[in-house]
Symmetry: none
Subunit: 220 residues, 2 copies
DNA sequence: AGGGGTGTGGTACCCCGGTACTACGGTGGC
DNA sequence: GCCACCGTAGTACCGGGGTACCACACCCCT
């Protein structure tokens, strides 16, 4: 029997996960945490096999929570689940000691098998990330120097802005960005406006092109 | 990094290819398939850049597997490798949509450069075959059949529409397209509308992304 | 002689994207 | 303690993009 703790700030999201997990005979949900601090406390109390960890949470975020849970040395493994397949998140999460990194739009079967893998000590990474992770970690290999030296056109952007630019490059509309990233549309517009100003793009289309040209987004 | 799937029914042959490919920094072997059906399934799961495809395999053969992989419209290119330099095989393979056709007794360097060429969208044909292929196809087409095999998502577009899509991909606005191509803006809008409808893009941004993904526009 | 596809053009309408502000809590630096 | 930056959020406004139509000349095919 695999025991799981769900850590996510969105009640609806937690509900969905709980429904999915509890439909499985070999998985038990021990509880739900709505932020990083709660996740740490509940892990210390209940010692779940796996913590299903969202990254973006109010207060202590998922990365830091992962770091502290892993640091305790318990047998609990952390499987990070996020909306984004952004490189920074993956790197940070895996550096923090996570055993896996999946994307929320994965198939339910993927999530379940990921949990089982992590519980048995294996590691899982979302297919869409694997490639870029390999690229990034292949410093020793030639041609990797190019990829991880940030394009000068992007250096003035903040991390958040680069995130937003990435999803702009994937074709998301402002409303989609707002809903999927849990932001107000006005906030998205503020971000987009600053990105356009900083990169000298006249509209989001130029930004999409920039995202491709700087390899922030790869053609698929 | 170029990812490759090896499809061959002989384990020893697969082993040889894998050793050769993995000795290269820029090539990764994603997996091995021992027949056509497996090749199709693994391609659907792993989306290699290139499938190294043997023709003679039990069950579904390499030609039919190539046809189905190409029909999915993914970016995976098929490089057919066979023991024989028979014309029928080459014709059938290239008609099936293969991007290349090499013979197994080729030099290792030839195979490697062939894989790299195919991965970037070019096509290769074994020197011993080229002549006869040209002769056979010369009657019908001016050599364009293989090299610019258009992405299936673009085949329904007219030449003019592909032209417009290209400049959309370069970030031109409707008014820019109109003035630079000496058209009325209403005409441009008509074209754009048809392009969006045919390609299933909801707005020009999706079209820009499509232009990049189909390599109609190259990142610079 | 008709018909379908293509390239061109027009009108009217609505909505999203982008701009121009303002604002405020948190964090980190000095 | 203060200031700068960042991420968040709001309002108001305008213009381009996209849609839904229609129209017509040209070409190719049967």
């Amino acid at each position: 029997m695999t025991t799981v703790l769900i850590a996510d700030d969105q009640p609806l999201q937690r509900f969905g996960f709980r429904m999915l997990l509890e439909s499985q005979d070999d998985i038990t949900v021990l509880g739900e945490a709505s932020n990083g601090s709660e996740a740490i406390r509940m892990t210390a109390e209940q010692h779940p096999d796996v913590v299903l960890m969202d990254i973006r949470m109010p207060g202590l975020d998922g990365i830091e929570a992962t770091r502290r849970i892993v640091a305790t040395g318990g047998r609990t493994r952390v499987l990070i689940l996020t909306t984004f397949d952004l490189d920074e998140y993956a790197h940070a999460g895996l550096r923090a000691g996570a055993s896996g990194f999946l994307i929320k739009d994965a198939q339910p079967e993927e999530l379940l098998s990921g949990i089982r893998s992590v519980a048995t000590g294996d590691a899982v990474v979302a297919p869409s990330l694997t490639r870029r992770l390999l690229d990034a970690y292949a410093h020793h290999l030639p041609a990797a120097t190019v990829t991880d030296s940030p394009d000068p056109r992007l250096t003035t952007l903040t991390d958040r802005e680069r995130e937003i630019l990435t999803v702009i490059g994937r074709g998301w509309t402002n409303t989609e960005i707002a809903t999927r990233l849990h932001l107000a549309e006005s906030t998205v517009k503020t971000h987009v406006g600053r990105i356009l100003a900083k990169t000298g793009s006249r509209d989001r289309i130029q930004a999409v092109i920039l995202a491709y040209d700087t390899r922030l987004v790869e053609p698929s």
